[in-house]
Symmetry: C2
Subunit: 358 residues, 2 copies
């Protein structure tokens, strides 16, 4: 049986109140007494019961982190950033992974984090009004990544800026026929980021005096496969683009795969630029818009620390800069772009090639 504060009190020959104060480093405890308490606790290898402590004090020492998909590169990086800061301040991290729709719903109807955390960090979730009200009703500080929610702390990148930079980069290379692989209408949940990026794409084209062609905007989910088929669709146009801006690196990877399977290469046949600077982007030599990922997590956690200590400061909003990283998949537009209507070369089809051992 683990020792309780009473045991420590008896051993140090003081009251439990004094033990509590001594252990938490509060003032008004004499050096001698504190020393005695610390030794007693040490000898009994005592540690406070977090639940009793929370119950009595009302603080939980825990921050809830709500993530749409832990297993995606982006979110796991942000999570690591959050963790490092919380950890350094002895706050626990209660993870809530909303994967599918049902878990998402359940989360908002049951509010399982209510009374369980001192603060909340929400990553990139599209929140309905009802949902953000539900969160607000928890009456704890909330920091949100991506979407902007009234009354919440907020960290994000400037998506319009980043997307504009990407498209401008292509225009500067002489491209005029520029496609976009977008997640805009593709996602049922209604993340706002894709819409902002899409809007930036259109705006920059317009500013450059390039006519808008809806055929050049192809929607898909944020995955490699969807990026691949979007690229296939673009290449099948009567007049295919000479450059493509993919909403995310993942989609860009898919686009590159399609090019490769059709015997084409970037940037000789088509320039490709992505968004994120995923760890694989460097490997594939993909030009992209980099955003500081783990850093955003750290910032969110710092905001929470401020909110928790500072008292009633106003929530802040911080926008972190993106950066164009020029690698090998973008290049100058050719004078006379080649026609692409070759028959696709079959790529590897894992299912057929796979062998099962043991």
């Amino acid at each position: 049986m683990a020792a309780s504060i009473m045991d420590v009190a008896r051993r140090a020959e003081v009251s439990t109140a004094t033990v509590s104060r001594a252990l938490r480093g509060l003032p008004n405890v004499s050096a001698a007494t504190r020393e005695r308490v610390l030794r007693a606790a040490e000898e009994l290898s005592y540690s406070v019961s977090p639940h009793a402590s929370s119950l009595a004090s009302g603080r939980t020492g825990t921050v809830g982190v709500v993530v749409p998909f832990v297993n995606r590169w982006f979110y796991s990086q942000v999570l690591a950033g959050i963790d490092s800061v919380l950890r350094a301040h002895d706050l626990d991290l209660l993870l809530y992974n909303l994967g599918d729709e049902r878990v998402h719903e359940r989360f908002f109807t049951r509010m399982p984090l209510r009374r369980r955390v001192d603060a909340l960090i929400v990553l990139n979730l599209p929140l309905s009004t009802a949902e953000s009200e539900a969160l607000a009703s928890m009456e704890v500080p909330i920091a949100v990544l991506g979407t902007r929610v009234p009354g919440c702390w907020h960290v994000s990148i400037d998506n319009a800026e980043g997307a504009s930079t990407a498209v401008r980069h292509l225009i500067n290379l002489g491209h005029r026929r520029i496609g976009m692989i977008t997640a805009a209408p593709g996602d049922p949940r209604g993340f706002t980021t894709p819409i902002v990026r899409q809007h930036a794409y259109r705006t920059v084209l317009a500013q450059a005096g390039i006519a808008y062609d809806p055929d050049l905007e192809v929607p898909g989910h944020l995955s490699i496969d969807e990026g691949a088929s979007a690229m296939a669709q673009l290449l099948s146009l009567p007049e295919p683009p000479t450059a493509v801006f993919a909403e995310s690196d993942q989609m860009a990877f898919g686009a590159l795969r399609t090019l490769g399977r059709m015997g084409l290469t970037a940037p000789d046949d088509v320039s490709v630029i992505g968004f994120d600077d995923h760890e694989t982007a460097e490997l594939l030599d993909l030009t992209t818009i980099a955003q500081p990922v783990a850093h955003q997590g750290e910032l969110l956690a710092r905001q929470i620390l401020d909110a928790l200590s500072g008292g009633d400061e106003e929530p802040t909003r911080v926008v972190v800069p993106t950066r164009l990283v020029v690698r090998g998949t973008t290049g100058a537009a050719r004078e006379h772009p080649p026609r692409y209507h070759s028959t696709p070369r079959p790529g590897p089809e894992p299912d057929q090639h796979s062998t099962t051992a043991r």
Copy 2:
């Protein structure tokens, strides 16, 4: 102010004991009363205080998950697997990311999860005897991934089997000069997996009557860059290998990058096989040994559920199968392997090419 059980009791005109029983679905509550309590709770939008509940009952409803690196693909996948199962059983997930050495140490000296969780899941950590004793002293069921710890539940793949399959695959393709990129002595923490894989590599070679050549074993950390330089080192040998088994897909990616930059390709010049079936492996058409990643997480969580409900069953150990996935980077050995002593073609150097926008 959130409603307490007293409020509900008053509203439903019963005692708090009855409320407690009704809400938790215990027997010995009449249908009418239960109905009344449920409605009262609903109307007050009451939810139990997890801390009070834990304090009174001794159960926390929380499982601690200790991860070496949340931000690595492998662990984030496992984590997602764990989460999905725990979530389905209304257990909370307290995440503990040991990143660097200092956090690791602190974890074992302070035991911050003691009294805080009903069970523990530990991913792939090398544990000293003192450390595993410290864990055991928490007196909760523990499930461990990878390393085998006495008294703990356990999930792992058969690393010897997987590595053997990889090396045999290369031998079957006619290769005789086979290199290995290993993490064995590279990691200071002493993960055991690399050692097992290395041993399998040596054993299979010996069984095939191939002489052991220490030059063909190149150590490095589990990263793309280290894989890349390991491959460079292999290629600089007087007699370079015709095939390489990389301990992990990440390292294999690095190896492929080196090949590419030197103007070589897999499998024409060198066959490459990895381990893991990382999401990028398919993209790069990498032959590899696949292991079910998220599934291992689910299994761990299931073991914990068993431990928590079943009472005092003996901990089980489950070994999940690996699978050889043949893709495009391995092929038949050439009769007369080419000499590689060409000057490396400079690859992209992001730092020089990078531009900073805004």
